[in-house]
Amino acid sequence: MGRPSHKDNNLNFSKDPSAAIEDMMNQYGTLVLRTAYFYLGDRHLAEDISQEVFILAYRNWTKFRGDSIVKTWLIKITINRCRDHLRLKRSAEIPSDTLFINEPITRNLEEEVIKRMNRTEILKHVLTLPLHYQEVLYLFYYLDFNTLEIAKATGDPEGTIRGRLHRARKLLGGLLEKEGFNK
């Protein structure tokens, strides 16, 4: 199955949560699931989190003011839920080690996926970057978010995101250049 459409228009979504949730699941279900997987690296957990995201979206739909597009709103909920989970997991592992705030996705991946990943041109480099750079590159390139949308989704100021994205692209560019990508 290909990637779901990235088009979004708040007006297309019904005010009725029951109807809206169906459209949200159809249009963005896969993106939400994949985003949860990108953060957590665990398929079952990503499924659980993505279901929870839609339940939360349903409950909060009437409060959604349309400050962002629906896609950004859903991704924001997804990121928050993933971060909650990582915090909780970290609290169970090393309660006060702040160096362990996030964990690389590669930590949880199956061996076969890691093998395939090592054969990629760009992904393997992205996943070696610090986690906040991976995040911003994923949101920018894969989800097609601009810096304002990334800021809304992550809760970071847009200026911070702009700087972070610039550094992430520069770092990635350096790594790719060594391999002759796009020369």
Binding site: M1, R3, R43, H44, R83, R87, R116
Partner: protein, 237 residues
């Protein structure tokens, strides 16, 4: 001439689709599960299915009122029997999926028994009467649930309070363990005479605040400002 951004975007997206995200789709099975959970929530809030059916269709007629009166009468007659109060302790299956173990990783520290705790009394019974609990909740945040973790309910050694407001959330975590050292790079903050450790402001909206008291590690983490986090911490009683 090719646009480098377009190339990177295209290749990166394809590689993600083919490598990490292969066959990772929000299929009808997952959609059905969401619908089931929403229906269960709805029925829980709205009463029996047949009543929800009428309510959904906005049949607020005299007939419904009359039916409700009859139902109350009939229910009170039934309630005289001993077939009620079959209260079962809530288990993990009632929990939000966030706190369920993920996958089959037996090393996952989240694979422990957990319970939903419904009241302050229940929390104190499970964890110990000496535990301090938050009494302040900022703004429009609402307590979603309280979960206890441990080898058994009587041996609960960790509590997690989840709060949310729209798409924001934060956690209050309380666990029994000894002082584990000062977190790296944190700033000291006073919590009612106890030293707390607050992550420095770096433009990030995430806040983390830790403090230890009587071999209990208290911490707050999530989308609250540092001021609110300190206020929550100081409200523990």
């Amino acid at each position: 001439m090719t646009d480098p951004k377009k190339d990177i975007k295209k290749v990166f997206s394809e590689e993600l689709d083919q490598t990490l995200f292969e066959s990772l789709d929000f299929q009808s099975r997952l959609q059905d599960e969401v619908r089931k959970k929403l229906t269960a929530d709805y029925q829980k809030e709205s009463g029996p299915t047949w009543l929800a059916f009428f309510r959904k269709r906005r049949v607020y007629s005299t007939m419904l009122v009359a039916a409700a009166v009859c139902l109350v009468f009939f229910s009170s007659w039934l309630l005289r029997g001993d077939n009620l109060n079959q209260a079962q302790p809530k288990t993990t299956s009632d929990n939000p999926t966030l706190f369920r173990s993920g996958g089959n990783d037996s090393n996952d520290p989240l694979v422990r028994q957990s319970w939903v705790l419904d009241s302050e009394n229940e929390v104190r019974q499970a964890f110990g009467t000496d535990v301090l609990l938050p009494t302040y909740t900022p703004g429009q945040f609402k307590l979603d649930g309280i979960y206890g973790y441990g080898s058994s309910k009587e041996q609960t050694n960790k509590l997690v309070f989840t709060y949310s407001h729209e798409d924001q959330s934060y956690l209050v975590i309380i666990e029994r363990n000894k002082f584990d050292g000062i977190p790296h790079g944190f700033e000291d903050v006073d919590i009612n005479g106890t030293k707390g450790y607050l992550n420095p402001e770096d433009g990030n909206t995430d806040t983390e605040l830790h403090w230890y008291l009587n071999d209990v590690h208290y911490w707050i983490a999530g989308h609250v400002s540092t001021e609110e986090a300190v206020k929550i911490a100081k409200s523990f009683k």
